[in-house]
Symmetry: C2
Subunit: 490 residues, 2 copies
């Protein structure tokens, strides 16, 4: 076990907190609920951003930037939206400070805003007020825009990455001429999100529709991807909303269609946030520290020299330089840690803690034998490989690790996804370790709320894929068209 | 002249505003002083970001993210700093809204923050309060961190890109064991900024030291790069500050040096912002629209088909596809505009307005002759080139354009940089068109302020490069060690 890291079994929640701190990913700041994302954590986020950004651009989206501030009156324009967001808003009321008579500074009461400004909790309102001027004709559609930004939701109970007052995210806001196109876009993005989660984060997800209860405030339909964490709790990892004409009506955004008829625009919005960092950490890591999928690891390979005397180091280093170049030529990001202030054992533990997928150790004997000791972070296996062709060897190994991590997470999810056919059975499963539970539900808010109150498990989504076999609600016995996905959730 | 674009001669300021709007770069938002950066403008900013980010990383810097909010008390910790920033701060005082009895929403007065939060106008205070926990020993130094973020300064008179209440920027914050190292870093970044301005933006700049009057609030020394716009006004395009131990003392950040002695840390901070967009626009553009340096143009080449009948178009399009692939293979970003809703003439004007460096026109006769008509945006020259090898031809042309734009800006600056040897001469130059004026100054704040009040010209910087010939102050006749750079400024 890594030094100072609580084990998952002992206290999963503490393990997570320890890990975020010890692996230098993030920490709490002096501002309540706001985090500092440290360089190593930010480097992972940057990798995620780059991949997602490319996926958005490859599907025709452009980035833009809209104001941080939202006039208070804009929030109330869409009735459900304001209901969902007003309670947790940071409000700017003044625009100047002045010296206090007693020293220090105080708010200058003469510099009070006529209308208060809200720090964006999400940008539908400011963006749709802007789209009004951008859209006149069907020729202006579709409008496929994304924004990378910070947002603020005044959460009372915060946890690093999972729930913070300020977080970083991307928010897409698209405008379409028809309902079908807007729905198609909503689902296209859901596929991008699930593809990203599975192929890059190595994290299997279930795509589905949210119940009315869990729907985005202002959406007609909310779709999400749901992942299962190692403690049996679900983590919603991305949402894509079909907004219908709710926002175009609230902001009066109309267009002349190709028959010259004036219509309201159809919309989608969608986002993933730094919460994905929490998902990534919890999906794969172990009691030794982070386990990162190679495709998102800032450092894919670390090389540690093993030596006793300084003369040895210089020989090793020149050999390592050849290895390093070979790895770089194979497109691998590599770090050579030749610091003499730390022992190899300390370095091994450090890079295990930080989740570096592959560690190479090179000592004098390796040089004699023309070999390298290769250690995998995921399985902790060590094996000796020939120095020649090490670039190709490691490249293949990184791909194998990527696949293995995904398969492991998938196996875990399979083992922890069960069907419950009675409410008692459901309760027993939820109480004994949790996981995903597939059960029939009668489609009513009342039943959903009763289950949530009695078991703390909620409907994560109505899955889109898989068999849709009808049955009877586990609580009321009323008919159900398909099983829905329950879990306790983050 | 582009449709709806005021000429520079008629009204330079209006020309700039028109251009920003007509070229789809940015617009004012519903929030006073805040802009919306539109997709085309944002695409240029993204290119700038990518280049700068690589330059920072190549010199050992890492990105991180610190909170948007700064506790009010933090601002007052550094005396000069609070003096400089408190007057233009957006202040968060509440964290919840509630329904108004009369409909709509209002601030919930019961949700008042104990200590107000300031939206960061710059992040020295929140970052140095964090560094206190990150730095204990000389082994923790240097700390070379950069942040890409939004900041807010409550400006009363705003202009798109040049001065906005919210803007985007990068801010570097570094910590060092010695004064010399911190100064070296400050100057290294100044070189990165000037290299970026000259090699990427094609905009010549003068590096120099700011006078005490113009120094960053909290810095020991501020360095800047200064560019000359076409209206003879200067634009400060980036600043790099040597902060001494001001912030480490304010936040008590100390370290044990390699002799075991406790010392305060030395610091630098540095930034460029979306203001660079304003500089880029004004440095090169003309009465037809934007002129973008090829290295920062989101679209480097546009291809327009010239045809009368639909049958012609399909033949042209398949030929264009070969050309397009050839260009892409040469690393060129290319757009083929085959929309039939617009005439070629309209498209030519549109892409001139948007500053696309090279336009290719392909008609049926070109296909017969195996030629392409190539038009340069910078000189507006048109010339026919063989279709074969067009990728290499255009690649070379783009490089030529990049160089030509820089040379043109450099020539303009040379013609508009003059030495003044008397105050009368100085005033005459400033009144008749402006430009950079090199003049001797006695080094006092009084003289600087007198010149500024009487002529509106300010000292842009004390140049670092070039000859340093002593002389006498143009106002007081007192000794001066070198000429300093004056101009009216944005």
């Amino acid at each position: 076990m890594a030094k100072g890291l609580t084990s998952r079994k002992e206290n999963y929640s503490q393990w997570y907190n320890d890990l975020v701190i010890k692996a230098d990913l993030a920490e709490n700041s002096a501002v309540r609920g706001c985090m500092v994302i440290k360089p190593y954590g930010y480097a992972i986020w940057e990798k995620m951003q780059a991949v997602l950004d490319k996926m958005f651009k490859d599907t025709g989206h452009s980035n833009a930037y809209f104001p941080l501030f939202i006039p208070k009156s804009f929030l109330s324009r869409e009735a459900d939206h304001v209901e969902g967001f007003a309670k947790e808003c940071a409000v700017v009321t003044h625009y100047r400070l002045k010296s206090s008579p007693g020293g220090g500074i105080e708010v200058d009461e003469t510099a009070k805003l006529e209308e208060e400004l809200i720090i964006r909790p999400t940008s539908e309102t400011i963006i749709w007020s802007t789209y009004k001027n951008w859209i006149q004709s069907y020729r202006d559609l579709p409008l496929l825009i994304n924004q990378w930004a910070n947002v603020v939701r005044w959460e009372m109970r915060t946890r690093l990455f999972l729930r913070t007052a300020e977080f970083l995210w991307q928010e897409g806001h698209t405008a379409h001429a028809t309902k079908d196109e807007a729905i198609e876009e909503t689902l296209k993005i859901l596929d991008i999100y699930s593809g990203f989660a599975e192929n890059w984060m190595a994290m299997p997800v279930i795509k589905g529709i949210k119940t009315e209860n869990e729907r985005f405030a202002g959406a007609v339909e909310t779709y999400s991807i749901e992942a299962l964490m190692q403690d049996g709790k679900a983590l919603q990892s991305g949402t894509s909303h079909f907004l219908g004409q709710n926002f175009s009506k609230a902001f009066d955004v109309t267009f002349l269609d190709n028959k010259g008829k004036l219509e309201h625009v159809w919309a989608s919005s969608w986002g993933v946030s730094t919460r994905l960092m929490g998902a990534l950490i919890m999906a794969h890591s172990d009691d030794r520290g982070l386990v990162l999928p190679p495709r998102l690891a800032p450092i894919q390979v670390v090389i540690v020299p093993i030596y006793k005397k300084a003369e040895e180091l210089s020989v090793i280093s020149s050999e390592v330089e050849i290895i390093r170049q070979d790895l770089i030529a194979s497109g691998i990001s590599v770090k050579y840690d030749d610091r003499d202030t730390y022992k190899p054992g300390w370095k091994f533990a450090e890079y295990e803690l930080k989740g570096v997928p592959v560690r190479l150790a090179v000592g004098s004997r390796d040089i004699d034998n023309r070999t390298v000791e290769v250690a995998r972070r995921d399985t902790l296996e060590k094996k000796s490989y020939p120095m020649d062709g090490i670039g190709e060897t490691v490249k293949a190994l990184l791909e194998e690790i990527q696949v293995n991590i995904f398969r492991k997470a998938q196996d875990f999810r399979s083992r922890n996804t069960v069907a419950a056919d009675s409410y008692q059975e459901f309760k027993d499963i939820i109480e004994s370790g949790g996981g995903f539970v597939l059960a029939h539900w009668d489609g009513t808010r009342e039943t959903e709320e009763r289950i949530s109150q009695e078991t703390k498990a909620t409907i994560r989504c109505i899955p889109l894929d898989g068999e849709k076999v009808p049955g009877k609600c586990i609580v009321t016995g009323k008919p159900s068209s398909q099983r829905v996905l329950f879990a306790k959730a983050y």
